[in-house]
Subunit: 578 residues, 2 copies
């Protein structure tokens, strides 16, 4: 695809909707990020996405990765592109400046990550895991570990992985079997097999740093007995000089529905040397530093897919001539009008646009909370970011996939054949709903840990920050109504779930959607207001009206279906499922 | 996949819900189809699906078709399987008995077609197009044409195609360019290029009968100037003896997202010999005989995909152990409980089941109307079948794809890798929403031709046949409410669309969903009632309650979104789509 960075919309969000340069001008260590700096980063990130990553997206699919005797070859061109990409400093964008990171706000990170995901998800996967591993080591590692790993991960000369899943243990990490045996030199011997390890082996970097969950001897059962270890592919000294090959070897790679350019490995650890990171038996908490980052990043993958879908769809709808408009000929010079004149095609286009531009605004909202927490020391913002992360992961990836499927539909038969590229987008975007915790797991995280655990207090506090006064006036009533429905539903759930332990899980997915729609209502009303008087005024107002008229009414049915007892899903016996 | 024919559910629908043997015992030419005969056909059809078709479904995907110099090789095993399948008489099941067809009711055809689609859609595609071509020739051909073509198409020794689409003309058939020049011998010379021709070339049959849309000289413009031609791959005499190769040649085959075992051809007609079928310039109407059959058949493809999704999902949910039930340990012998204990997994399973078993009942409803029309001479039933066909095509394929995606989600990461087969189901099922008229086109057919054209009279008459008295009592109120919403919405649309020409298209997709949900509400209430006292009682009642509590509330939001003006999609200028 000829990917075009959505600079105009990003600029609009940064300057008009969230006014970030203004906010940062009074935030310690962010004062330097003036509007001009933001623009320059966005433009250069967009250039890299368009010129370096996007041209390799097709070959990523058609060539894929090859595995021979434990070595993995990535698609032609990936090595040079990854090197060019990494040398631009993009992996260290929000990294720790004490170790060669650039210390930029996370909000800006979200913006550029979206572009990288949109341009080439297979290739960017090698990057995002390195960023996440660096974040984890920065949070939990020793000074010596930071010194050796962070600059190399930021530079992409080494890359990272997260090794959690085992064949029998996916969502359920409490039952992992990989063992860590302490040795007299303070290291551990790691033994076990991990599956679905993205970037577990490849040819893009000199070394690979695996972050591996394993059990120490006599560790308590379940998730409280899991520790985290750094297991490098090549052992090294404190200066990063590479030494012996560690016993961490790729046993094979998976054949997958999509993201063929990303190597998904079975990793065999056979007495490999590992270094404990963080406290013993507190590995899952350490890993969550990485996981929370990755969950937001995967949400951005969904957003990138939605943007790619938008670009595919709108170009084809403008160019493809087929049938006449119901209101009369629009293109008399040709034998048919462009698809764009057909109301049902417009419905699909506007749906994609509502999810894409609304999703971008949502991602920026999450980024802003993360920055307020990290740079402003705002504890409430930290809690809000934790509330919003599962929504970002699940809703943006659901809508990314939905958008890809809609774009494919607009292409008709041409959408199903490989030539046009849009079917690849559908296959590639599907994974984002599954990995980093399935979207069902995200929904249970939201309803359980993030909402019901404090009886909805955090949610209520967050929603109170979404002022109806910030919205274009015509949307305020419907927005208030959606919020009222969400709050009523939340209060009722808080009360009912005491007597009904199955209830949160039974309605979790619907509840996440309801919450997301209410927040999107604020974002669309806000964008319509902020666009007044700008060149985006017509498009933002029209899409906002479409969202309110055609997508937001979904809250009506969600409210009713969430009101159902968990009996609706749990009443019958397991034996009736056969 | 180890496909298991859903005999129990089919039997339940035939004998308990629709009591077809009873109805047919008083229908001329259907008296012989006693309950025992129905059972025997279902069991044998199921055996063929399971033993002959299903074992080749994986190789259909992995090997695909190969094109060399105009010849197409199908996957290994296809030829023998198609021959065994066809020799069982399945392609002539509902065919004309005067020409070696079996004259069985269409309802029974629906039941067995679903199984063939579920077991191996790539392979069954070679069959369904032959059935459709035979139907078209039976309706519009001469006696001589019927004599030579029908027995061979029923036997699968020759197969059929429908050649409509050209590179610039998909939905918009009015602008096709393929030309037909009359010759002095009464035949025509056909010249043009058709694309996306399923089974256009392959190695499964001795001859291929193309039904080709083309324009005669001086034909009126648009759809009123299109004629239909029979263009055989090999010319033949009246006894079916093959002669010279006709100039109808495959130029290439497409690389597609799925159904790799089905050959999708570019067909070049270069002065090929063609025989007019039906009246000149009435070709589109003739082709619609085939298209209406294919639309229902593609709906059954969606239903088959839903059933396959159900089987994939429920088996994995029973076998895969992961995490503990929220209500306490259910499987103390192992370290985790089966997925089936988790409420969000149940939600997905029950959603698939509601679409699958509801879809099967819906398909039977359509089949019954077709049989009442064909064998009972019931004109109203014919009109009802035309009303229901676009719903069958669009809704069953939408829900088939949705079910496949849900099944994939239940597998987690294992759903994304090729090994398990469920990702193939997602890719294979996607096409059904696109071909035979995209689902948007079906929605416009429903709202425009089938509902608004007569001001909703046909719809109202059909809905009046769905008596609330046939439903388990607890569902009657909610069913009546859904019907009331649908009728209110229809009346309002009939009124509003006079002033707003864009309105039908703008809301068509939502309107089709609303209509389908109201009919499914009847079917689920009916099944819950009919299952009382049988072994299916618990499962039908539970799924009915799930449908009413969790899926049917969608009508609330659809009613509101359909009430929006077409401005919601059409108000802004084309220039804002860039």
């Amino acid at each position: 695809m000829d990917y075009q960075p959505p600079e105009r919309d990003i600029e609009f969000l940064l300057t008009r909707v969230f006014r970030l340069a203004q906010e940062w001008s009074v935030t310690p260590s962010l004062e330097d990020f003036t509007a001009d700096v933001l623009s320059a980063v966005v433009v250069e990130g967009g250039r890299v996405a368009r010129e370096v990553l996007a041209p390799l997206n097709r070959i990523a699919d058609t060539e894929g990765c090859r595995w021979v005797d434990g070595a993995v070859t990535t698609p032609k061109g990936f090595k040079a592109a990854f090197s060019e990409f990494a040398s631009g400093g993009w992996l260290g964008l929000s990294g720790n400046p004490d170790f060669a990171g650039q210390g930029m706000p996370k909000t800006l990170g979200c913006v550029v990550e979206e572009m990288f995901w949109a341009a080439n998800p297979s290739l960017y996967l090698y990057g995002t895991l390195s960023v996440g591993a660096a974040l984890c080591i920065d949070s939990h590692g020793t000074a010596a570990q930071k010194r050796v790993y962070l600059p190399r991960l930021y530079a992409g000369s080494w890359t990272g992985t997260m090794c959690l899943t085992e064949a029998h243990a996916g969502t359920d990490l409490g039952i992992i079997r990989t063992r860590a045996e302490p040795r007299s030199d303070g290291t551990c011997s790691i033994t076990g097999t991990k599956i679905f390890i993205t970037s577990g082996e490849h040819d893009l970097a000199a070394n690979i740093i695996h972050l591996v969950l394993a059990r120490l001897p006599d560790a308590p059962g379940g998730t409280r007995g899991i520790s985290l270890f750094i297991v490098p592919k090549y052992l090294h000294d404190d200066s990063g000089q590479l030494g012996a090959r560690n016993s961490a070897v790729s046993g094979s790679i998976e054949h997958k529905m999509g993201i063929h350019g990303s190597a998904t490995n079975v990793m065999n650890f056979d007495g490999a040397t590992g270094y404990l990171i963080g406290e013993a038996n507190a590995g899952l908490a350490c890993m969550f530093t990485m996981m929370n980052y990755e969950r937001l990043s995967v949400g951005l993958q969904g957003l990138g897919a939605a943007e790619a879908a938008w670009q595919f769809a709108v170009r084809y709808a403008r160019e493809r001539l087929q049938s006449r408009s119901p209101s009369g000929v629009k293109n008399p010079a040709a034998e048919a009008d462009p698809l764009l004149v057909h109301p049902d095609v417009r419905r699909m286009l506007l749906t994609i646009r509502a999810w894409t531009e609304g999703g971008r605004a949502f991602a920026m909202l999450v980024g802003r909370e993360l920055d307020r927490s990290k740079y402003g020391g705002d504890r409430q913002a930290q809690v809000f970011s934790e509330l919003l992360t599962p929504i970002a992961k699940a809703f943006l990836t659901d809508k990314g996939f939905e958008s890809a499927v809609l774009a494919q539909q607009i292409y008709g038969g041409h959408g199903y054949i490989s030539e046009w590229g849009v079917e690849q987008l559908v296959r590639d975007s599907r994974i984002a709903q599954i990995y980093e915790g399935t979207n069902g797991v995200q929904a249970m995280d939201l309803i359980g840990r993030k909402v019901l655990r404090d009886g909805g207090t955090t949610l209520r506090a967050f929603l109170a920050t979404l002022s109806p006064d910030d919205l274009a006036e015509e949307f305020r009533g419907a927005f208030n109504d959606s919020i009222a429905r969400l709050l009523r539903t939340t209060d009722a759930l808080a009360q009912r779930s005491g007597q009904d332990v199955n209830l949160p899980g039974a309605v979790a997915t619907d509840y996440l959607e309801l919450t997301a729609l209410a927040i999107f209502a604020w974002l669309w009303g806000r964008m319509a207001d902020a666009a007044a008087g700008t060149p985006l005024a017509e498009s933002k107002m029209h899409t906002a009206r479409f969202f309110y008229a055609r997508l937001l009414p979904r809250v009506l049915s969600l409210e009713v279906s969430i009101a159902a007892s968990s009996d609706a899903v749990m009443a019958s016996d397991a034996s009736s499922f056969e």
